[in-house]
Amino acid sequence: MVEVKEKVEAEVRAEAEPYVVEISALDERGEPKPYKALNEEVHRAAAAGCDVIRLRDVHGQRFLAAGMEGRVRLEVYGTPGNDLGIFMDGPTIEVFGSAQDQTGNTMNNGKIVVHGNAWDVTAFAARGGKIFVRGDGGYRIGIHMKEFRRHRPVVVYGGCVREFFGEYMAGGLLVALGLDGRGNAATHNAGREVVGPGLATGIHGGVIYLRGDVPDHYLGVGAVKRGLDERDRKTLEPVLREFGEYFDVPLELIWEKPFTKVVPASSRPYGAYYCGKLI
């Protein structure tokens, strides 16, 4: 019953013109609005029932779409500040530029698409939703990510990421492709490492796919490398297709280079570390 209702509603929505609201992130003096004021405008627009909120001239305002629910779509032009989409539970954010740090912090559901780079601590403790980044990432991406039943966070980087990728990861899917350049002009990078040391230290759930090889000494405690089997390809295929659609990257190019899979060696790597005898 609920499914039918949702379907009908979706059809109705598709027929109607989308209700678009444009918000400038600059005040009348041309200075960036404080993040609180801007966020209040965004929340008010969403509460008024609009489908698309277009944010212009964003310059570092933090916590955009914090805790927002529903299916609203945010288009961000400029450079959103730290904690973009923090605690978000449903909306889609598309960033036409680069994001900063802590993108998708503790995100519950929804989607973030970044056409530039997204630096450190992306998807920190995320427990659902998807994040697609065309370019590079920094340090501590996907740390403490977790999953529960159907809630499974997915993070895909088109470029390279740095150290502590998937540290203390407890669930979800992390992917870094190590591509250079954009869209159809993307190339296999030569000379840049797809990932850095401290990879997946303390991982006890979830899976990491990296395009290319990873030196053994980059693996953190509790992480092991595996080859890909048919099931892995089935897991990756839809995720990579979605990535390719957003950024115009041909799937064949991505599959040209073999992947390395990194998984936990055990579900409780520190089980015997502190109080193993007690449990």
Binding site: P32, H59, T79, N82, Q100, D101, D136, R140, R162, E163
Partner: protein, 398 residues
């Protein structure tokens, strides 16, 4: 103790608060250098630091400008703050005995209604060391600066280099900008800092940049190895008087770069060396051995804890250097202008992007590796290279 408790009660801005030995902060940093030496007003650096307003809490901000006094470039410029006229006169007497006083003037300041407490007296002295100090002018000036900071009540030296100056105080970055009229100065190299003191007091001396002679640093983070680092520099005659961990970075770098004349890359590796397990795996044998030597010889110079810093020097050409700790626990991004002539460093990318369409795509320097760019030197390092990449390493005594 939270720095906030000092607001409003702080009416002696140039005197350090007593019984406080606390460290640590989390702040905003911004820097730019024009590689062709073209001076520019403080407008852009002011806009950069102001854009990151969420990184500050109004308890300290500051600016440094290099290439500021070309007509007096051979004189040391002591930028000082005083609680009162008496302190100013005592300092003038002291400086008259210790130096040849070439000129002195009040630093231009403007009333800012929102600044808390009475602002200090801001004075600038252009001095030359006496004949006896010939050949060791820098050391002589440094010794006098430490005497002033540690012993002259109600006064401290903001900066003591040639052809440069630091402007700092207790307030928001836009207040300190207006207070000193930063937009009126022109320089090819700028640093800007906004402070969020977490467990050290907010006072005029505790604001960044920290300077000694031609070196200034701005810092975001906290140095958990402060005790070790402080003892290390104190062995070499430095005196930590400003109640914050950040000043020890300035003295460490002055020791390594100026006194010991280490190459910049070696000094940076001493502050943020890679882990031994990564050194062991290095393919470049020269870099591997050099990094081991650095770790052994400069163990107490290693800065533990989170930091990102931007450093300005003018030992030769004005040079900007930026790096983070080896685990990248604080942010730093870099970018160049479209014409390649300006190099920007910033805590957040938005501060570079807001300057306009002329900045190219920003990059994030790798943990513990420096971005180096200087007037007439170009962009020497992007901070994404391997250790000592492209350099021949030879040991004098193998």
């Amino acid at each position: 103790m939270n720095g906030l408790s000092y607001r409003g009660t702080w009416d002696k801005p140039a005197t350090p608060p007593g019984r406080l030995e606390r460290i640590g902060e989390a702040c905003g940093i911004a820097a730019l250098v024009n590689l062709d030496g073209r001076p520019e007003s403080g407008a852009r650096i002011g806009k950069m630091i102001r854009t990151m307003v969420d990184r500050e809490n109004g308890l300290g901000a500051g600016y440094a400008a290099y290439g500021l006094f070309p007509e007096r470039a051979d004189l040391y410029c002591l930028q000082m703050l005083f609680d009162d006229r008496g302190a100013l006169e005592r300092a003038r007497e002291f400086l008259g005995k210790k130096f040849r006083l070439d000129a002195d003037e009040e630093i231009a300041t403007y009333p800012v209604a929102t600044l808390l407490g009475k602002p200090p007296i801001c004075w600038r002295f252009f001095v030359a060391p006496p004949k006896e100090a010939e050949g060791q002018e820098d050391d002589y000036v440094m010794a006098q600066v430490f005497r002033l900071n540690a012993e002259l009540a109600g006064a401290f030296v903001m900066s003591s280099g040639k052809d440069m100056a630091v402007f700092k105080g207790n307030g928001w970055s836009h207040e300190i900008f207006d207070f000193y009229g930063i937009g009126d100065y022109e320089a090819p190299l700028w640093l800007a800092h906004s402070r969020f003191p977490t467990n050290s007091p907010g006072w005029w001396g505790g604001a960044h940049p920290f300077n000694i002679l031609g070196l200034s640093i701005i810092h975001n983070g906290e140095i958990t190895s402060y005790g070790t680092n402080r003892r290390f520099v104190e062995m070499w005659g430095y005196r930590c008087t400003l109640l914050t961990d950040s000043e020890v970075i300035a003295y460490s770098l002055d020791l390594l770069l100026r006194q010991q004349r280490l190459p910049e890359l070696v000094a940076c590796a001493a502050l943020a060396p890679p882990y031994h397990f990564l050194i062991d795996e290095m393919e470049n044998g020269g870099a591997r051995e050099l990094l081991r030597e650095i770790r052994v010889n400069y163990r107490p110079a290693m800065l533990n804890g989170p930091f990102s810093v931007a450093v300005a020097t003018n030992y030769e050409a004005p040079t900007l250097l930026g790096m983070t700790d080896r685990k990248k626990l604080r942010p730093l991004v870099a970018a160049t202008s479209a014409d390649g002539n300006t190099v920007f460093l910033s805590s957040e990318e938005c501060a570079i992007a807001i300057l306009g369409e002329d900045a190219t795509e920003a990059w994030a320097p790798h943990a513990g590796k420096p971005v180096i760019a200087g007037v007439g030197r170009g962009l020497v390092r992007r901070g994404t290279e391997d250790y000592f990449e492209g350099l021949e390493i030879e040991f004098a005594n193998p």
